[in-house]
């Protein structure tokens, strides 16, 4: 295969070849990939964009902290932009692809050591290439009784990448960033920062780095999430002690208009601690993707009619809104809480079904969620994750906004509203046939309108695909962008780290 023509912005072919030669000396010739075929895996997109829009110029596979430092030194020398990935599985947000064409992928998958697991303090220290599957196997093989919290695509993704994107799960440890403790970060100039207690010069091995987050002075960890201020090479995790038992509960609400009541019923139970994990209300269409495909029930154009969805859903025992959560603890602890929640949900009009199976709430890895991509076929997916206060009226408003706009573009409304506590995340999956350029254009237009409508109504997007990072950054205002820009200039003056990530650029606000 001939070398690609795409080059990093502002870098000539001669200079780039020189940089690649030096990168080969750092990581080895086999660990610098160039050309169409070797770069294919980094180009695969689910989002509504053509692969060539985000073509990387090369990929560099680093296997150690010192190699990462060496790579950054070369990139600084030649002003070559680099896009770090851990497992490259940011599905529905851009996967492994960089925010702009021509960046070099810094692939950290080979940094896959589980450096420490402390079963007493229930902590772990891992590198970016470790997957949830690997960590799960590690704990199981050693009979260490700790649970992981992972997203629906858990086997393929890892705690470092997911946490740095501020991903969430479904157990009581669902807020992944909140359950980290200590980072090792390589700054653009090659210096290594250990956050929290990790910077204490006299810290003995195995001391408090993974036990206490804040160290001294400003709490810095958040700066390295959804950002381009450093390359995280180690992450401390807090892991959940395996509960003695648990009961997963499904509450079915029989009418579309029950959504507000369901949210109002759940919130106090979450805030009081009666329920300790996030409560997800999945709509019927989203649930149906586990059992059937759109083409099996509707051959027309436009969104599948609501009436048809509800009829087919009923055949599968699915309600218009399906709430799930779990109770964890000893049977003696669970029993009174189960009695309370059953009473409260039944009084709100819900039908309570006990012992529903949902692996993400109970440390069981699965990829069943990939059925979502088969709803339409063709592998297109972009997520719309928005945040509001956990109020029923806000859930309803977001449902109506999303459903209405999606229908205008002939797209189905597949969504879940999750009450994490005081916040409610409305997550809509926009699925389409990625092979169809017209479908991609239609979804892009639709997504622009969704961003605009949600923002105008005060619902912010909390995680954006590479296609819409600038657009979403603009919704958070000028001062927010200026501060990010100032940090970028201070920490990465050559702008080599992931330019465009979260709309943060070195050369413009």
């Amino acid at each position: 295969m001939p070398p690609r023509t795409v080059l990093p912005a502002g870098v000539s072919n001669v200079v780039f070849e020189r940089a690649l030669a030096e990168l080969r000396r750092v990581v080895g010739a086999d660990s610098v990939l160039r050309g169409s075929e070797p770069l294919l895996p980094y180009e695969k997109l689910m989002i509504p964009a053509a692969e060539e829009q985000y073509e990387p110029s090369a990929a560099v596979l680093a296997a150690s902290l010192s190699e990462v430092q060496g790579v950054l030194a070369v990139c600084n020398k030649y002003k070559v932009p680099i896009w770090p990935i851990s497992t490259g599985r940011n599905f529905g947000f851009g996967s492994a692809a960089p925010a702009t064409a021509g960046q070099v992928i810094l692939d950290l998958k080979r940094m896959d050591r589980i450096l420490e697991v402390d079963p007493v303090l229930c902590t772990a220290l891992v590198e970016p290439g470790v997957t949830y599957q690997q960590l799960h196997d590690y704990l199981k093989e050693r009979k260490i009784d700790l649970w992981l919290d992972f997203p629906a695509d858990g086997p393929l993704v890892g705690p470092v990448g997911n946490t740095l994107e501020r991903g969430v799960g479904r157990t009581p440890y669902a807020d992944h960033l909140a359950h980290t403790c200590g980072m090792e970060v390589v700054l653009a100039d090659g210096r290594v920062l250990r956050t929290g207690m990790g910077s204490l010069a006299t810290l003995p091995k195995g001391a408090s780095w993974q036990a206490y987050k804040y160290g001294y002075g400003p709490y810095l960890d958040g700066l390295f999430t959804q950002s381009n201020f450093g390359v995280v090479t180690k992450l401390g995790l807090w892991l959940m002690p395996a509960p003695p038992s648990y009961r997963t509960v499904l509450v079915q609400y029989g009418q579309d208009e029950d959504l507000a009541r369901a949210v109002e019923t759940v919130r106090p139970l979450r805030l009081s601690g009666t329920i300790t994990n996030p409560c997800t209300l999945a709509n019927a269409t989203l649930r149906l993707t586990e059992f059937t495909r759109r083409g099996d029930l509707f051959q027309g154009t436009g969104a599948v009619p609501d009436g048809l969805i509800l009829t087919v859903a009923r055949e599968h025992g699915i309600a218009p809104w399906n709430l799930t959560f779990s109770l964890y603890g000893t049977p003696e602890q669970i029993a009174p809480n189960l009695e309370i929640v059953t009473r409260v949900f039944e009084a709100s009009g819900g039908r309570v079904v006990l012992d529903y199976r949902d692996g993400v709430q109970s440390n069981e890895l699965s990829l069943r969620a990939f059925g979502l991509l088969e709803w339409v076929g063709g592998g297109g997916l972009i997520w719309l994750p928005t945040v509001s206060a956990a109020r029923g009226a806000d859930a309803v408003k977001q449902r109506d906004l999303a459903r209405g706009i999606l229908a205008q573009y002939g797209l189905d409304y597949l969504a879940a509203a999750t009450v994490y506590g005081r916040d409610l995340h409305h997550l809509a999956a926009v699925v389409f046939d990625h092979r169809d350029p017209q479908a991609r254009l239609r979804v892009r237009d639709c997504f622009r309108e969704l961003i605009s409508a949600f923002t105008q109504n005060g619902y912010g997007i909390y995680r954006a695909s590479i296609d819409f990072m600038d657009a979403v950054a603009r919704t958070y205002g000028g001062t927010h962008r200026q501060v990010n820009h100032a940090l970028k200039r201070a920490l990465d003056p050559n702008g080599i780290l992931a330019p465009g990530k979260s709309g943060i650029h070195e050369d413009r606000v």
């Binding site: 998958k109 007493v120 599957q133 050693r142 059925g371």
Partner: protein
């Protein structure tokens, strides 16, 4: 069921020793590190290619070039896999392993809403 605290503590302490001893010996799951084709199948492909999410591959005799091409490019809803995750040599072995497997019977259609049929989720001790 509830565990006796003493036995929990003993297990936890034993776990410390085990974790410390074996931390560096832990087998990773990246290119060149897969224990076997079966392991690679079980930890990645097998999650989907079981006729539930995607079509069953075992026993189909998919050729190594076709397998490698699909794994690297990720057709349709399938993710792509980089050479840092699995090597071409491991994929060639996997193709042989897939061909040598007997095609398992099709799974029962899962048409329920996955409710109470799974019973109590109390964890075994």
């Amino acid at each position: 069921m509830t565990r006796a605290p003493a036995s929990s503590l003993a297990r936890a302490l034993a776990g410390v020793a085990v974790a410390c001893l074996l931390a560096t010996a832990a087998r990773a799951q990246s290119a060149g590190e897969w224990r076997s084709s079966h392991e690679l199948w079980r930890r990645t492909c097998g999650y989907c290619h079981n006729d539930r999410v995607a079509r069953e591959l075992r026993g189909t005799g998919i050729s190594a070039p076709l397998l490698i091409s699909a794994v690297r490019s990720g057709p349709g809803g399938m993710p792509s896999f980089a050479p840092s995750e699995v090597s071409d040599a491991e994929l060639e072995q996997l193709a042989q392993w897939i061909a040598a497997q007997r095609k398992p019977p099709a799974p029962e259609p899962d048409r329920s809403a996955r409710t109470a049929r799974h019973g109590s989720r109390e964890r075994p001790q």
